[in-house]
Symmetry: C2
Subunit: 240 residues, 2 copies
Amino acid sequence: MTEGSLADTNPNNTALLDSWRSNARRWTRAVRTGEIVSRISCTNDAILNAIKRLGPSRVLDLGCGEGWLCRSLTSAGISCTGIDASRELIEIARASDTQSWYVPLSYSELVRDAAPIGKDFDVIVANFSLLDATVEELFTALPKFSGARARLVIQTLHPFHIPGTYRTGWKEETFGGSGTSDWSPMPWYFRRLTDWIALLHPNWMLERMEEPQGANDAFPASLLLTASRNDKTAFCAQVR
Amino acid sequence: MTEGSLADTNPNNTALLDSWRSNARRWTRAVRTGEIVSRISCTNDAILNAIKRLGPSRVLDLGCGEGWLCRSLTSAGISCTGIDASRELIEIARASDTQSWYVPLSYSELVRDAAPIGKDFDVIVANFSLLDATVEELFTALPKFSGARARLVIQTLHPFHIPGTYRTGWKEETFGGSGTSDWSPMPWYFRRLTDWIALLHPNWMLERMEEPQGANDAFPASLLLTASRNDKTAFCAQVR
């Protein structure tokens, strides 16, 4: 099996991509009109702060969607490249933002050939966008196009919000339940906390964990992980 | 303020110690008759496996209580020293086990003077026993009496089980509710996931996370962290 082939052949991964193609305009409206309350109350600020704190020059946004995060970073003077497997979302992102660089590219395509995006990224970010089952090979490939001191910043659903039993595996998001007819259901791969931490090894080392939580909320909305490259040679060279 | 002084003067820390003195015999019965279902179904095996996997010679059990873990390790041929702030529990532990070394010592006493326990521990373990608000100074002191390749193994309540709002702070355990008259309520300091991870820095580096969960349970019973000493000089000397 070649790298990335699972992402191309797993039926859930295919259905996941299809849902983003189908939901592209509906999703764009949801993001741009502030429909998703937790994004407004805490998770948008949390991801922006986590990135800005690192003082990057070049950010790669994995699963950039309609481009919200790239636009925010670019307007703060940070160069941003966004990739997304949905061509529909990339076209929407490009139409609203001529400053960022948007590339229609799936994670498995990126793993096979990173030439379209360039290299030497300081921060690689995935904001609620690691939704398929094949993240291992992506995490292994990232050092190929990131600097020795690069950070990986991941925001994902807090595991508190798991629907049903707490086991890693495929779930389905219906975006508000069966009554809403303007969304296509999206399969997504839930990971236990433990599995997120294990995924980082051996290429990344957890540096910081955050649990963004609205001031009036009983539970956190998301889990936010910042990791540095676990490259012993580079790390120890800095110590000397 | 001298080291350990907060632990001596914080009224919740005092009430916490008082509850263990008062509950010593009741707790011993609960552990020894298997009253605590999650211990039998998964958390006892989880902590034993986490320690044995590391192949230690000398283990320090922080908050050893009536000695269950020391007895299990000693019978597996691993030398174990247990400390507990409750003299009552240390006496009970000693009465059932002449092979392990039990010392009546609070964490703040240990921080001030570790001479009573010796040094060069390979594994330092805290099994549901980091219950007060002043763990920072304890974690900072541990390298004084552990080897350069030592591991810290912590098992604690999974944050899913937080009673009420998810915020770090003091809570109260009533051991089954107000109807049970043979337990004294215990104040304990709940930490969010984020705060556990932050506590490890800068002296310890998270190596592994586990979430022990019974085969038929919807949610994990506990959070189990294994960390290695974050000693850059020692670490990089191994790499060379």
